[in-house]
Amino acid sequence: MTQPQEIDVTKPLEREFSKEKYDQLESFINSLETTKGALIEILHKAQDIFGYLSRDVQLFIARKLGIPGAEVHGVVSFYSYFTTKPSGIHTINICMGTACFVRGADKIAERFKERLGIESNETTGDGLFTIKDVRCIGACGLAPVVMVDDKVYGKVKVEDVDDIINTYRRTGGAVCG
């Protein structure tokens, strides 16, 4: 097995978004019957479009709905599903549900963090990986579970971590099924 390369962690750059993306969000908001009570729905859509909720996107939504930016940010920061930082090409979700915990998910998480040199909710310098703790993905029969993008790896052992990382390194940006 090849040794994983060292990666230095630098803060990922804020990406600039094209006008098309903002237009897409705007037309979604315009298509709503009412914006009353729709903030969370709009944030879900925005995160779908942009990948994350940057300061600019939050302010755009606030202006569009005529509410203070602080109110938008208050909602964004309350919910763990919303993220204000760009994530890598592949997101490694490590299930931290109780079933996974008692079967050693914490050790798996440690190994991922050690190998990639980042903490939870951080992205590697090359922008390839983001690590996230998820609460429970409801596949407790496979505990401990790691989900990379949409692919679920069940009964993961600490030794498997390198293999999982390398699978995505080799294929680069392509999603491996």
């Binding site: 009353k36 879900h44 109780t98 079933a99 008692v102 609460r135 409801g138 679920v152």
Partner: protein, 575 residues
């Protein structure tokens, strides 16, 4: 085509039955076969979708596609043994089916009628192959009411649901029962809320109905945030129509015409199956205007949660539905009086809803005959952790924990000793060996220091350190506390820090005292159920596993544990 009467529904049912006949009538001689493949999240992660593809392709090339139908069902419950393939009407249950096994199943079983013995489940205790589902110890003691259709029908096909009597209860309620009769039936059945609180469902409906307001709402709480619980997810994935039908019945009873399903965004498969089911229900007229030819109108929309455990609490959930932070409100007023946008709102959990249609069709007495005196019916548990048969089980109330863990669950793996089981998720407590024979119901669990909760059941063996487990839960509640009240915001953080101090070997006896005091303080003074129950794992592990706490403490001044914590500001507290 819209169904306008029970007679029309029955006509559809008769023609739909042929598709599920091999599953229903095992004795009737037929050439047809159904191959049921589990399409729950667990099995899908193990390639069950590819199994379906290969099966379909193989059957086609061999010209058998006409007689043999491949059905992607919901969860069978026996997640540990996935992917599961069941062949009907032969009643053969194959487990851990790999891609390479598919060809053999088709060539041997389907073509030649020979069972593939090596794919059968082997009972680890008697070391023998078990041929049918009914003989497996995992299924023997189960009674499937809420899960009645999971693993039996294709959740994406409304006709399979109708073939098994789907939407008859809605038709019956709308055309033959008054609103009060529906509520009376649910009250008489003794059904209590399966989300954890155990509030009588019929009573909640009655209170909502009594409110004088023209606008009312019914909400399905599908925000399953409890780590280690996946029953709601499996019901939504395996039998979404039962939830839709139940919501319509509930809406009729309380007088609502709009419903909301508040569902976790992290459950994409459940969302997609529910969306499909809602479209089909609209097409056949079970949602929309003038349902069953009556003046009753009802429709449902989805609202996505965004990852906050506290949103399982009904007032927090309603705030989140309104697009706000999911912070709980003081009760009263209860949502039944003043909920979504200030209107009376009835919030029920997925599993509660799944019970409703059968209660209406089969009657309150049938349901009330199951269970214990104060807790009727069955309960679904998600069995996980250090246990042989991880999975979803549904048992009558009143069964003992020992039966669940050792008979259904198959005991502890690797010859280890049972240590404790945590029920009720982070808000519950641990139950030890001495309470294993207590019959499970809402009240008994509270009495032994735990609770029903949504039904997560995590088994721990002798290797698990209980202080670490308590710390794990506290980290969870600390993260998930909404921050609105001080005990919840700061208290849980301090509790976590104290536990961290203990597990890192820095603590003294006075710290243990302080931990206990603060645990009770947070319990007594928090705003909502989340933080009122957050210290439960500490309190119950301290009660049952005190020596494990002591083992972390090396207090030279108080070697026998007499160091008392003296609070700086004295507040009247239990200690």
């Amino acid at each position: 085509m819209r169904v306008k009467s029970l007679a029309e529904l029955n006509k559809i049912k008769q023609s739909a039955i042929s598709a599920v006949r091999p599953r229903l009538h095992r004795d009737a001689p037929t050439e047809e076969k159904n191959i049921l493949v589990c399409g729950g999240t667990g099995c899908l992660a193990n390639n069950s979708d590819k199994i379906i593809q290969i099966l379909t392709a193989l059957l086609k090339t061999r010209g058998m596609a006409g007689q043999v139908k491949v059905v992607r069902t919901g969860c069978f419950g026996f997640c540990e043994q996935g992917p599961i393939v069941k062949i009907e009407p032969d009643n053969v249950f194959y487990v851990r089916v790999g891609l390479k096994d598919v060809k053999e199943i088709v060539e041997e079983h389907i073509m030649k009628g020979k069972r593939v013995d090596r794919l059968l489940y082997e009972d680890p205790r008697i070391k023998e192959k078990v041929h049918t589902q009914e003989e497996m110890t995992f299924y023997k003691k189960q009674l499937r009411v809420a899960l009645r259709n999971c693993g039996l029908i294709n959740p994406e096909d409304i006709y399979e649901y109708i073939a098994l009597g789907g939407y008859e209860a809605l038709g019956k309620a709308l055309t033959q029962m008054s609103r009060d009769e529906v509520i009376e039936t649910i009250k008489k059945s003794g059904l209590r809320g399966r989300g954890g609180g155990g509030f009588p469902t019929g009573l909640k409906w009655e209170i909502t109905k009594q409110q004088e307001d023209e606008v009312k709402f019914i909400i399905c709480n599908a925000d399953e945030g409890d780590p280690g619980a996946f029953m709601d997810r499996s019901i939504l994935e395996g039998d979404p129509h039962s939830v839709i039908e139940a919501m319509a019945i509930g809406a009729y009873a309380i007088g609502a015409d709009k419903g909301i399903v508040y569902i976790r965004a992290e459950y994409p498969l459940a969302i997609s199956r529910l969306t499909t089911a809602m479209e089909q229900a609209r097409e056949l007229g079970f949602l929309g205007k003038e349902i069953f030819g009556t003046s009753f109108n009802f429709d449902i929309r989805l609202k996505y949660g965004a990852g906050a455990f506290v949103c399982g609490e009904e007032t927090a959930l309603i705030n989140s539905c309104e697009g706000k932070r999911g912070e709980p409100n003081y009760k009263p007023p209860y949502p039944a009086e003043e909920g979504y946008w200030g209107h009376p709102t009835c919030v029920n959990n997925v599993e509660t809803f799944a019970n409703i249609p059968v209660i209406i069709s089969r009657g309150a007495d049938w349901f009330a005959a199951m269970g214990t005196e104060k807790s009727k019916g069955t309960k679904v548990f998600a069995l996980a952790g250090k246990i042989n048969n991880v999975g979803l089980v549904e048992v009558p109330m009143g069964i003992t924990l020992r039966e669940i863990i050792f008979d259904i669950g198959g005991g502890i793996p690797n010859g280890k000793k049972f240590k404790a089981v945590q029920t009720g998720g982070p808000s519950g407590g641990v139950i030890t060996e001495k309470d294993l024979d207590t019959p499970i119901d809402y009240d008994n669990l509270l009495e032994i220091g735990s609770m029903m909760g949504s039904g997560g059941m995590i088994v721990m063996d002798e290797d698990d350190n209980m202080v670490n487990i308590a710390k794990f839960y506290l980290e969870f509640t600390m993260d998930e506390a909404c921050g609105r009240c001080v005990p919840g915001r700061i208290g849980t953080k301090r509790l976590f820090e104290m536990l961290h101090k203990i597990t890192s070997g820095q603590a003294t006896m006075a710290d243990l005292d302080a931990l206990k005091q603060l645990a009770y303080m947070v319990k007594d003074s928090s705003l909502c159920g989340l933080c009122q129950t957050a210290p439960n794992p500490i309190i119950s592990t301290m009660k049952h596993f005190w020596p494990e706490y002591l083992a972390f403490v090396k207090d030279v001044d108080h070697p026998r544990g007499e160091g008392r914590y003296v609070p700086k500001n004295k507040i009247g507290l239990k200690s």
